[in-house]
Amino acid sequence: MILSIIVYIILSLIFFQMVLLAFLSIRKWRNNTDEKEINHLYNSLLDSFTSYMIGIDQHLFIDQVETIRYRSILVEKLLTYYVTVIKGSSFSQEVNLLSEKYLSGPYTAILKKNNWAKRVNTLHFIEDFKMHSLSPLLLERLRKVKKLDVEAQQLIRTLASLNETSALDCLKKYPDAPMRLYLDSFSRLDRKLTEQEIEKALAEDFIPIKSSAIAFIGTARLFSFIPHVEQELKSTTTEIRIQSLKTLFRLHYMNNPDVLEPFFHSDNWTERMFAARIAGVMTFERFQPKLRNLLSDQVWWVRYSAAEAFSYFGDGELLLTYFSENHEDRYARDMAKQWITLKSGGQA
C-alpha cells in the first residue's frame, strides 16, 4: 500500500517535471527565436533611427516602426541605446516624442499590472526618457505607497527626474529614509528647482533632509551655499556639524577658516579627522602646529589624516621626514614615515 502511494507520488512528480521541462524547452526555443528576430529588426532599424534622431529624415523611421512587430520593445531598445550613448539626450525632443507616442500606452498598462520587476524596470525607463505625461499616474501611485521599498524609492527618483518636488515632501513621512534617496532626488531636479529645495531644506528642523541638503551642496559643488554650511558648523547636532565638515572638505574651499579651529580639539574623533583633512587639502599653514599634535592622536584615522594633510604642503615631505625621526610619539613617527612614501589617492 505504502509502496504504491510512494510510487504514485514519485510518478506524478516525474510527470510534473516532464511537463515543466517541455514547457520551459518550448518557451526557451520561442524566446531564442523572438530574440533573434528582435535583434535582426533592431539592426535593420538602426540607420533610419539615427537619421530620425539627427534630423536628416523624419519619415522613414516612423513609417517602418508603424508597421513593425515588437514595436514597443524595439523603440525602448533603440531609445535606451541612444540615451546611454549620447550624453544629455534624455532631454532631447525626439526621445520625448517617440517615447510618448509608442511607450506611454504600454507603460501605463505595465504600471497597473501586478508584476513588481516589470514595474520597477518601467520606472527606470520613464526616468530615462523623461515621460512627463505619466507624472499624474506616478503621483497617484506615490499617494498609495505604504512602505518605502525598492519600488517606492525608484518612484520618488523618477518623479524627481520629472521635476515633481512633491516627491521630496513625501519623504518626510519616512524619518528612516536613506540619505542617498534625498541626494538622488536633489540631483534629478533641474538646477533652479534644486537650489530652491536646498534652501527650503536648510531652513528645516528635520535632520535627515537638512543633513542631506548639506551633503548635496558638496556633491554638486554649490559654492554659493558655503556661508550656510559654515553657519551649520555651529549647530548643536553632531550629525549636522560632521556633514558640514565633510561638505567643506569636498568643496576644497571655505570663506572663514577660523571656524575650523575648535574642531582640532573636539571630543569627537570624526570632527578632529575632518579638521585635519580640510587643513591639508586647503593647505592652511596656520594649522600646522595643530596637525603636529594630531599626529599623536589616540585614533588611527586622525593620525593618518594629519600625516596625509602634511603631504599637501610644499614643505610637507620635509616636515614628515622631520616628524618621522623626531616626534616624541612612536605612533606619530610611524605614521609620518608611512606618508613619506605612500602615494595619496590610493584608490580606483
Binding site: 514519485i10 521541462l21 508584476n115 608611512q338 602615494k343
Partner: protein
Amino acid sequence: MDSGLSFFLLLSWLVIAYMVFSSLSYVILFLIALRKVWYEGQIDKRESVKNLAVNEHTFPVSVLVPAYNEEVGVVSTVRSLLALEYPQFEIIVIDDGSKDATAEKMIQEFQMKEVPFALRKYLETEQVLASYQSDLFPYIRLIKKANGGKADALNAGINLSTYPYFCAIDGDSILEQDALLKSMKPIIDSNGEVIVTGGSVRIANGSVISRSKVEQIILPRSPVVLMQIIEYFRAFLIGRIGFSRMNILLIVSGAFGLFNKERVIQAGGYNKKTVGEDMELVVRLHRILQEEKSNERIEYIPDPVCWTEAPDSLSVLRSQRIRWQRGLTETLFLHKKMLFNPTYRSIGLLSMPYFLFVELLGAVFELAGYFIIVGGLFFSLVDPKIAGIMFLVTISYGSLISALAVLLEELTLGKYPNVSDLITLYLWALSETFWYRPLMIIWRVEGLFATVRKKQHWGDMKRKGISS
C-alpha cells in the same frame, strides 16, 4: 536474527522518514525562494545599478585577495579586478607566506614598491613582513606575511584596508564587472541595515571569459563539472535564497562576500582555527545580531556575481568536499550553544538544526539508505519492498530535487542559452542518485572523521586559469 531484522526495519523507516522530511524542507525552501528569484531574474540590472556606478556617495570597498602559492593566477585575478565598475575601491593581495613566486609576480607586473605602513592591529595575525604599493595603480597593495592560513591572511587584509566595507574573494575567482555594484545595492537600499551580502557563484569551466567578462556561457563536457553546476543551482537558488528571505542564511561563499568591516572587527574577524572560516564568521555575526537584538541582516542576491573554476577531477573534488564538511562540523560544534536555543530565534530553532540534520548528518542517513537498498535487494536484510521504497525515496531526494533546481534556474534566470543545455542539465540531474551522490556521501562522511585531524591548510586545487 529477528532482532537484527527488526533493527534494520526500524532503521529503514527512520531513513525513509528522514528523506521525506528533508525533501519536504527543500520543497518549502523552493517555494520561499521562487518569488524572489523570479522577480530578480526580470529586473534590468544595468538600470538598477547605474546610479551607484557614478555616485561618489557609494561606499568605497576594499577587495581582499588572499593568496597562497598562486603564482599562476594571481596576476590575472588582479588584472580582472581592475576592470570592476565601481566608483572607489582598493585591491589588497595578501601573500600568506607562499613558497612560490606569488609576491614577485605581483611586484614585477604592477611595478610595486615597498612602503612602510603604520598597520592597525584590529585583529591579531601572523607577522606582516612587508607591504607594497603599485606605482602604476596606487590602489593596488600587497602584503607579505608569515604563513597563517586563509583566515589569518584575510584578517591581515582587514587590518590594512582603509574602507568601511570589504569584499573577500578567492584567488582564482573572476568577478562580473558590476559585481560590487550589485552586491552593494542591498546595503545602500537598506541604509546599512544589511551588513553582509553574498552573491551567487557560478562555475566557469567551459565558458568563454575574456577581460573579466563572461562572453559566452557554454556548458562544460565533463560530467563531474556538470554535476557541480547542478549542485550549485540546488544550493544557491533553493537553499540560500530561501534562508536569506527568512534572514537565517548561515553561509556566504568564500569565493565572494561583501562585509561591513566594523561589524566583522567587532565580531573578532575570521576564525583561524577552522577550515570553514567563511561560514563560521557568518554564524558568529548572526549570533551577535541575535544577542544584540539588532535589526541588521545578512542578504543573498540570486544574480551571479562571481565565476569560479570547479575541480574537474574526482581526487580534487574529494579533497574539497572533505574540507567543506570539516568546516561545517567545526562551525556547528563551535556554536553548539545556539542549537535549539530560543534566544537565537529562527537561527537557533530552524537554520542551525537544518544544517545539523540535513547538511551535516544527511550523509550518514543517506549512507544508511544505500546500505539498506543493497542489503535488502541482495542479502535479504530487509523486505525487498522496503528496499524498493527506500530506492524510490532516494531517487526523489537526490535526483528529482536536483532536477527541480535545474528547472527553477530555467524558470527564473535562464542563464544557459540553448534548449539543449537545459535538457542536458536535466538528464544529468536525474543521474545524480546513481553515481555522483554516493560519492559525495562517502566524502562527506570522510569529512566528519577528518574533523578530528586538525590541520589547517589552503586546499590543493591545481589552477588551470579560467580567464584569457
